[in-house]
C-alpha cells in the first residue's frame, strides 16, 4: 500500500501530473515550514527554495516561518508540539538535532528521534580547518599536530560558540590527536573572524563560505576539510581524516516532521524533496552557497542523526563541556 502510493507519486511526478492523489489528500491546506533561525541565513535560504518547489508540485502554499531564539530551541520545540498531520515541518541543523539534547541535559524540551520524524537530509556544510599563517608555522595537518604537541595550550582556537559544530570539531580534533588548545567561543562566526584575521586566535574550524575569500587572499591558510571525502570547491585540499582516520565534523540541514506523522505523508514529502535536491539548478545554487546538496531517504537521515548524536555525545562527555 505504502509502496504503491510511493510508486504512484513517482509516476505522477514523472508524468508531471497533478499531485492530488486518490488515497492521500495531503496537502489540503497551507503547510508551515519552521526555520529555527532568523531570516537570511543558509537554513532559511534552503527552506525558501524548497518551499517554492513544494508549493509548485503539491499545489498548496508552503510558508516559511522563522522562529529564532534560544539557539533554535524555540523553533524546534514548536514543531515537536505541533499536530502530527504534516502541516508543520521543521528545517533543522546538526546542533538542533544531534548536539543540543545532549548538551543541555535532562531539562531539555525534546529528544530528537523520540519527538521528531526525519524526512530528508538536504545539505552538508563543510567545515574547514584554517590557521593564521603569521602565528602558526605548520602548513599541513601532520605538522600542525606536531606543533601543537610541542606547544600545549599555547594556541587559541576560535569558534562560533560553545556546542556548535565548529567548537566540537576542535574538541574532537584535540581528543583524537591528544593535543591541547584553549577554546575561545564567540557569538557567531562573523564575530570570530576579525580576531582570526588579526591572529588574536590562531586556528579555527569554520564554514567554507565565510573563510574561503580570506583563504584566497592569503590572509588565512586552509589545511584540510572536515568531511569524510575531499570536496568539489578544492579537490587539492586534503581531508582531516587522511591524517586522523574517521574524523568528521560537519554541519548539515534536514527536514523533519512531528514524530507521529503518518508514513504516507513523510514519504511523499521525502520523495518530493529528494527530487528537488537532485535538480541541476538546485545543485548549482547550493554549491554557490558553499554547501553540498544531499538527497537522502528518511531511513538514511535517521541513521545520520543517530550516529552523529553518538559521536558528539562522546566528545561532549570526554571534553567535559556539559553545563552543570
Amino acid at each position: 500500500m505504502k509502496l504503491a502510493s510511493l510508486a504512484a507519486t513517482c509516476l505522477a511526478l514523472a508524468l508531471g501530473a497533478a499531485p492530488a492523489l486518490a488515497d492521500t489528500a495531503y496537502p489540503s491546506k497551507a503547510v508551515t515550514i519552521v526555520v529555527p533561525f532568523s531570516a537570511g541565513g543558509t537554513a532559511d535560504i534552503i527552506a525558501r527554495m524548497a518551499a517554492e518547489h513544494l508549493q509548485k508540485k503539491l499545489g498548496q502554499p508552503f510558508v516559511v516561518e522563522n522562529i529564532g531564539g534560544g539557539g533554535g530551541v524555540a523553533g524546534v520545540e514548536k514543531v515537536v508540539k505541533a499536530a502530527p498531520d504534516g502541516y508543520t515541518l521543521a528545517l533543522a541543523s546538526t546542533s538542533n538535532l544531534s548536539v543540543h539534547p545532549t548538551l543541555y541535559g535532562a531539562k531539555f524540551p525534546y529528544q530528537t528521534l523520540r519527538d521528531l520524524k526525519p524526512i530528508s537530509q538536504v545539505s552538508v556544510v563543510p567545515n574547514i580547518l584554517v590557521i593564521n599563517p603569521d602565528k602558526i608555522p605548520a602548513r599541513n595537518v601532520p605538522d600542525l599536530i606536531a606543533y601543537l604537541k610541542a606547544n600545549p595550550d599555547k594556541v587559541s582556537f576560535g569558534s562560533s560558540g560553545t556546542g556548535t559544530t565548529q567548537h566540537l570539531a576542535g574538541e574532537l580534533f584535540m581528543q583524537r590527536t591528544g593535543t591541547k588548545m584553549v577554546h575561545i567561543p564567540y557569538k557567531g562566526s562573523s564575530a570570530m573572524l576579525p580576531d582570526l584575521l588579526s591572529g588574536t586566535v590562531e586556528l579555527s574550524f569554520d564554514n567554507v563560505p565565510l573563510l574561503l575569500p580570506h583563504v584566497k587572499s592569503g590572509k588565512l591558510i586552509a589545511l584540510a576539510v572536515a568531511t569524510p571525502d575531499r570536496q568539489d570547491f578544492d579537490k587539492n585540499l586534503p581531508t582531516v581524516a587522511e591524517t586522523v582516520p574517521g574524523f568528521e565534523a560537519t554541519a548539515w540541514h534536514g527536514f523533519l516532521a512531528p514524530a507521529k506523522t503518518p508514513d504516507a505523508i513523510t514519504d511523499k514529502l521525502s520523495t518530493e524533496i529528494q527530487a528537488f535536491m537532485k535538480q541541476p539548478e538546485t545543485i548549482k545554487k547550493m554549491q554557490e552557497l558553499g554547501m553540498t546538496p544531499m538527497a537522502t531517504t528518511p531511513a538514511e537521515f535517521t541513521d545520520l542523526i543517530k550516529s552523529m548524536t553518538v559521536q558528539w555525545k562522546d566528545v561532549i562527555e570526554k571534553g567535559n563541556i556539559k553545563p552543570n
Binding site: T32, E65, P323
Partner: protein, 156 residues
C-alpha cells in the same frame, strides 16, 4: 526639611529606589549561586553577575542611607487604573495572539485601553477598535505577511 517623620523618609523616592536596587542585587546574587564560579582565568557563568550584584547592592545601600539622611523626593500616587488596564491590554496579545487571532486581540485590547482613560464612550471605543482591526489586518497580515491568523484556533 528637618523634622520629617521616619516613615516618610523610608517611603521617599530615593529610599525606595535604594530598596529596589538592593532587592535586584540580592535576587541576581541568589540566582547566581547555582552557576559555576570559575577562576579569573576561566570565569564561570556566575563570576561577572556576582561582582555586578555586589556593586549594585552597595550602591543601593548608599542611595538608601543618603535618602534617610537627606531629602529623598516625595512619592506621588500610582495611577492604578491606567497601569492595570494598559498592561492588561498588552497581556491580551501575549496570551491570546495565536489562540484568539489578530482581530479579536486588537478589538479587546483597544476597548480595554480606552477604558484606562475613562474619557472615551463605549461607542467611540468600538469604532476605534473596528478601525484598528481593519488597519492592522491590512498592514500586518496583508501587507507584511506576518504569520498570525485573523481569527485564531480557539474560535474556528
Amino acid at each position: 526639611m528637618n523634622g520629617k517623620s521616619p516613615l516618610k523618609a523610608l517611603l521617599s523616592q530615593d529610599a525606595l529606589s535604594g530598596f529596589m536596587f538592593m532587592a535586584f542585587a540580592g535576587g541576581f546574587a541568589w540566582l547566581a549561586q547555582d552557576l559555576s564560579l570559575g577562576t579569573a582565568l576561566r570565569m564561570g557563568a556566575g563570576y561577572f553577575p556576582l561582582i555586578l550584584s555586589a556593586l549594585l547592592g552597595l550602591i543601593g545601600l548608599f542611595i538608601l542611607v543618603r535618602a534617610l539622611l537627606g531629602d529623598g523626593g516625595e512619592m506621588t500616587p500610582f495611577a492604578w487604573r491606567g497601569l492595570l488596564l494598559v498592561v492588561a491590554s498588552v497581556l491580551v496579545f501575549g496570551f491570546g495572539l495565536s489562540g484568539l487571532g489578530l482581530g479579536p486581540c486588537v478589538a479587546i485590547a483597544t476597548v480595554l485601553a480606552t477604558m484606562a482613560s475613562g474619557q472615551v464612550s463605549l461607542r467611540m471605543a468600538v469604532v476605534l477598535a473596528v478601525v484598528l482591526v481593519i488597519f492592522t489586518w491590512a498592514v500586518f497580515i496583508l501587507g507584511l505577511g506576518l504569520p498570525i491568523a485573523l481569527i485564531g484556533t480557539w474560535l474556528s
